[in-house]
Symmetry: C2
Subunit: 245 residues, 2 copies
């Protein structure tokens, strides 16, 4: 494994956080003008990852965090026996690599589901800078804490929801995050396969497919391959809340 690394393309031209249109969603949230300019000095490079390539793999040395600038990623853990589990999907403004801090090695694979760009955030510098700027420190801590809380939500989903509830929760979460980025709340194109959705939700791809079909029959969704239109958002929400009981 980790045999032949593909050449890493970095683009070291100026990509200021302070003028990034994602600054209200990304690491810079809540930072002052001054703090932002400090961030700019640190986040000096981007990196492009083509669809299907990995940004990093489990076992790789941990150096940097990555903020998704454009595109879409999944992260997977895998057990020795080959089983693997998608642990999350990341879109613009979301951070990748937090798992690596604890052991100086990444513990998941991060795979681009479409051609993507990330901002490289050298971790040593981030730690240093966050010692100086308490707002940055606070923001970093919040992001990590929220990741923990998100994971707890996934555990609840995996541990106690049924297939329909899981898929409904997944779709609502996805649209909510897309909406925060200015996309439609009701219409989306899935970046991932049925199998990847299934892995994330603890279901087999056939079950995901059947559940999509069921939702369509019930008038909750319109499904055409990866194009999804949400027809009855409240209906989905009720499923998640278990109001059916």
């Amino acid at each position: 494994m980790n045999s032949t690394m593909p050449p890493i393309r970095t683009e070291p031209f100026k990509v200021a956080c302070s003028s990034c249109n994602l600054r209200e969603l990304c690491l810079p949230v809540g930072l002052s003008r001054n703090d932002l300019e400090q961030l700019d000095t640190m986040v000096a490079t981007r990196r492009s990852v083509v669809r299907g390539d990995t940004l990093f793999r489990a076992g790789d040395a941990f150096q940097s965090l990555y903020a998704v600038r454009t595109g879409f990623f999944k992260t997977c853990v895998s057990a020795e026996d080959g089983r693997d589990q998608v642990t999350g999907f990341q879109m613009a403004g979301e951070l990748l690599g937090l798992d690596g801090i604890g052991s100086d090695r990444h513990t998941v694979d991060a795979v681009a589901l479409e051609d993507s760009q990330v901002c490289v955030i050298p971790y040593a510098q981030l730690e240093e800078l966050s010692r100086e700027f308490s707002d940055l420190q606070r923001q970093l801590h919040k992001i990590m804490s929220r990741e923990i809380v998100r994971d707890h939500g996934v555990m609840l989903l995996l541990g106690s929801m049924r297939a329909e509830e899981r898929l409904a929760a997944f779709l609502l979460n996805l649209t909510q995050r897309l909406q925060a980025r200015g996309f439609s709340a009701s219409s989306l194109i899935l970046r991932m396969t049925r199998e990847e959705i299934g892995s994330y939700l603890g279901l087999k791809l056939e079950t995901v497919s059947r559940t999509f079909s069921k939702f369509q029959e019930e008038g909750l969704l319109e499904v055409k391959q990866r194009q999804i239109r949400i027809v009855d958002q409240d209906g989905l929400q009720k499923l998640v809340n278990g109001a059916a009981c």
Copy 2:
């Protein structure tokens, strides 16, 4: 909810991290003499929680982290409809409350499964101190990152393992942590009910019970209510790795 808070018992006598026998497992790992003394000034109080009581509840304002000094806790998230999910079990040296940083409110309930004591770590002070002492900062980040990694492991378990594998993984994890604290690697007393184990593992209590019985029949364990003796650790390990396939 949160109706009548029980009186909070704090014991403000000196409980120095620098002389704590958990310092190799807890927040102070890897800190220098000097850093440790700084920690001492901050972690000034303990709090006792009797079995069945909550240390904090979802929705409570977040003020402090807590390090388990003695005893045993579980943390639970709950959905609106009442379903709840145990997200973890915490023993001596482990930190509680990280979930609260992101939103200034706790998002889980922390319940003592036996009479317990925790060290109170005022979070504002911890942030401040960790700006000054980079080793402390690094340690805090590592702890948060490891929590994320742990959660990913639970997702893998919940998403792709079968009942026997889940229980085997759970037991091995538990004994490993107990062993790190100087307890036997092969003999333990469960602090939680079958139902709580089931909630953590995404199983019903009957399934947990049956699986214990099965393990006993197969000569992997001796089970007498909550007293467990691990007879064949390798056998359990093989189950987890899916080597049975």
